[in-house]
């Protein structure tokens, strides 16, 4: 090994050692486990819709899964930028096991005005957590052990979380030193960074990196509670152009089909619309450039014959990262979530992939979530590798036909490759597209 190679080896190992230990204590397998982290998403005063779970969720011992939680605050959150305030909350979960004891939420943009919400089992003394670095005038710490929700506003960049015997703790501050001070106080004087807290070392993180994706400009979100399996969402101010799309709110999830070719054409003066979904099966919409919200809701109700119930206007999400709320819930799999967990196919793409699969494999599969997951996997796992393509092909054929038909695998392998080539050509390494489908490369 040359001197340079040795320097690279030593330098990289040193740099690797300096990377903080993982933030969570999630282990695998861990039934009813905790998420590796939460991908917080958009929200507004009143209702917070989040998609959580980056790491490995134990899912009752079953498949690794992720889920979505909807946190509905029962009272208004003080205007952003104020002092911390405690609000009562109710937490509901959709699609996965109950939330762990600690959850971190964020809304607003990812800049300095970011607002954080901590939902935790407060075995710790939050007075110590907040300490003198906050004004505290609206803060009344709950008794230890009580489940509460704490809203911290206008906090800075640094956060600290750790787990202690199943209880999650979190600290925020304007700077690293403040957070460290909070944490050290909370840890009874243990020096941060040197502590071994029951096997876990507290780790400082940068909350800025919790927010995936670019912001989508929405000026207002109107929301109506689901009624009879029916959900409706109304947005105003969705940007026109390439990022326009169809959104729906179902089961606590805002779904968006970006550039959905058969969706509304958001052109001209159209700036408000209502859309809905019934039992996840169909989506409709009402659009208008001049109807007020009440009228739009009335129209929606008349069209669907389903009372929408109470609705409320949610504001203050101008910079909300709606793009990160668009990942559908999966029924079983982790692939339902994550930045590349699901590819949002346009109607045309869905039609194409279904037709390709149907013609080559003989199975009629039209579910957009199924194809969204499959295409995402094909793009991420690297379907340009023949072994991967064959592996996925066998998997999907087995799922669709209930058996693995060996004679069908070559066609299915090519189909998987073509699906990915159509949807994510940019993911292919140099020359991989030109090399052609697996059948073209077999001897």
């Amino acid at each position: 090994m040359t001197g340079l190679e040795e320097r690279v080896r030593v330098g990289l190992r040193d740099a690797g050692d300096r990377i903080p230990e993982r933030m969570t204590t999630s282990r695998f397998p861990e039934p009813r486990g905790v998420p590796g982290w939460i991908k917080a998403t958009a929200a507004a005063a009143g209702v917070l819709v989040v998609i959580g779970g980056v790491g490995l969720f134990g899912n009752g011992g079953g498949p690794v899964g992720t889920g979505v939680a909807r946190l509905a605050l029962t009272q208004d959150v003080p205007a952003l930028g104020g002092v911390p305030a405690v609000v009562n909350s109710s937490v509901s979960t959709d699609g996965f096991d109950p939330l762990p004891d600690m959850t971190l939420w964020q809304w607003g943009d990812s800049g300095a005005s970011a607002t954080w919400l901590v939902e935790t089992r407060l075995d710790a003394d939050l007075t110590a957590l907040l300490g003198p670095s906050t004004e505290g005038e609206a803060f009344h710490p709950p008794a230890p052990g009580q489940v509460e929700t704490l809203v911290l506003t206008d906090v800075g960049w640094h956060a600290l979380s750790w787990q202690d015997s199943g209880t999650w703790h979190v600290a925020f501050g304007f700077d690293e030193a403040a957070v460290a001070e909070m944490a050290e106080r909370l840890l009874s004087g243990v020096q941060l960074g040197q502590a071994e807290l029951r096997g876990e070392r507290p780790v400082l993180i940068d909350p800025r990196r919790l927010i995936p994706g670019p912001p989508v400009e929405l000026s207002e979100l109107f929301y109506s509670s689901p009624a009879g399996g029916f959900s409706v969402a109304l947005f105003r101010g969705w940007p026109h152009g390439v990022e326009s799309g169809l959104a729906r709110l179902g089961d606590g999830v805002i779904r968006t089909m970006v550039n959905g070719e058969e969706a509304v054409t958001f052109a001209g003066e159209v700036n408000s619309w209502v859309m809905w979904t019934i039992d996840e099966g169909s989506t409709g919409f009402v659009e208008s450039s001049d109807l007020d919200v009440e009228t739009l809701i009335e129209v929606a109700e008349s069209v669907t014959s389903v009372p929408l119930g109470e609705w409320r206007v949610l504001t203050g999400i101008e910079s909300a990262d709606v793009s990160s709320t668009t990942r559908p819930l999966g029924d079983t799999g982790f692939a339902a979530l994550g930045d590349s967990g699901v590819v949002h196919l346009t109607i045309a793409q869905l039609r194409d992939v279904s037709e390709i699969w149907g013609s080559l494999v003989g199975a009629e599969v039209t579910d957009p979530d199924t194809w969204g997951r499959r295409v995402a996997d094909a793009c991420m796992l690297g379907v340009w590798n023949v072994d991967v393509a064959e592996l996925l092909a066998a998997e999907y054929v087995s799922q669709d036909l209930g058996r693995v038909d060996e004679t069908m695998l070559p066609a299915a392998t090519d189909a998987i490759w073509r699906l990915a080539a159509n949807v994510c050509p940019e993911a292919f390494p140099e020359g991989a597209l030109e090399a052609g489908a697996p059948s073209a490369r077999r001897p």
């Binding site: 340079l4 690279v8 040193d14 690797g16 982790f334 994550g338 991420m380």
Partner: protein, 163 residues
Amino acid sequence: MIDDDRAAEIEAGFTSFYAEWREPLRRAVALATGDVMTAGEAVDEAMTRALARWDRIGSFDMPAGWVYRVALNWSRGLFRKRKRELLTAIDLDGARSDSLPDVDLIDAVERLPLRQRAVVIGRFYLDWSTAEVADALDLAEGTVKSRLSRALDQLARDLGGER
């Protein structure tokens, strides 16, 4: 159908693999992408997909290589989506150490194109042979060697030394 015994065997195999490789791979991906935060996500995403297919992936010669490659794919997709530079500086201040890091070296490695960096990390951080790196990244070994050579040439130039 996989019977219960086989399922337990698969789960045990994955659990062992996860315990051994999750952290080294997270650090390797962090070094390759320069993004500490998303490296864990990337590896977990890849691990999850490995788990779903562990009866096959577990029989590979180098399942860790498979996970490394998938995690890098995931990161690439994420960064494309974010329309941001793939490389951001590793926050060396975020951790505590008595010694100073070789900042010049890290900077030089970070300036390498990702495809070279991924090879360098595999070879020198994960300590894989060129053949193993080739397997992990789905490349010909000759390609790995040439990328490694070009990367080292570039590092030598940047660091003002010789190979």
